[in-house]
Symmetry: C2
Subunit: 66 residues, 2 copies
DNA sequence: TTGGTATGTCAACTTAACTTTACATATCCA
DNA sequence: TGGATATGTAAAGTTAAGTTGACATACCAA
């Protein structure tokens, strides 16, 4: 699964720590999601999409291997 | 987090086992998600939304407690 | 050059997702 | 009545998500 978190953060001028605070997770969790080490829960995906005011499908997209 | 899986299944005339097969998980996993015991991964949410041809946000919605 | 901010990553830990196996119940139909 | 299908749930196990704490690096501004 790919994600646009890094780009969205840049557009909204948020650091990983800022974003983590917004949705109530640790900075490392955001980093791990961004770098593809973790697949977030649906609750986190919904909250992240909400922060950026975008659809979940826009921020996260399935890949062949999923 | 609430979800519309049961309704969507009914509209698409799919059993829990059918849906499980479609997205490659066990029947119990579908049941557990439907009854709110598990929060699915974002990959599962995207696949479920894909099966029903609906937005993730339409199928899964955040609640106060999330 | 030093201090603050941002990012990447690792280790150890806890909790939750997901699996298989299994059993119970309800409905429906031949 | 009996068998097939659908659903709910429990137990035990594995894997992955998410935590805290820590350290390294890079960049930028004072």
């Amino acid at each position: 699964m790919k994600n646009r978190l890094k780009v969205e953060r840049a557009e909204h001028n948020l650091s990983q720590a800022d974003l983590a605070d917004r949705i109530g997770v640790s900075r490392q969790t955001i980093n791990s999601i961004e770098t593809g080490r973790y697949v977030p829960s649906t609750i986190l995906a919904l909250k992240l999409a909400q922060v950026f005011n975008k659809a979940v499908e826009y921020i996260f997209t399935l890949e062949e291997t999923d």
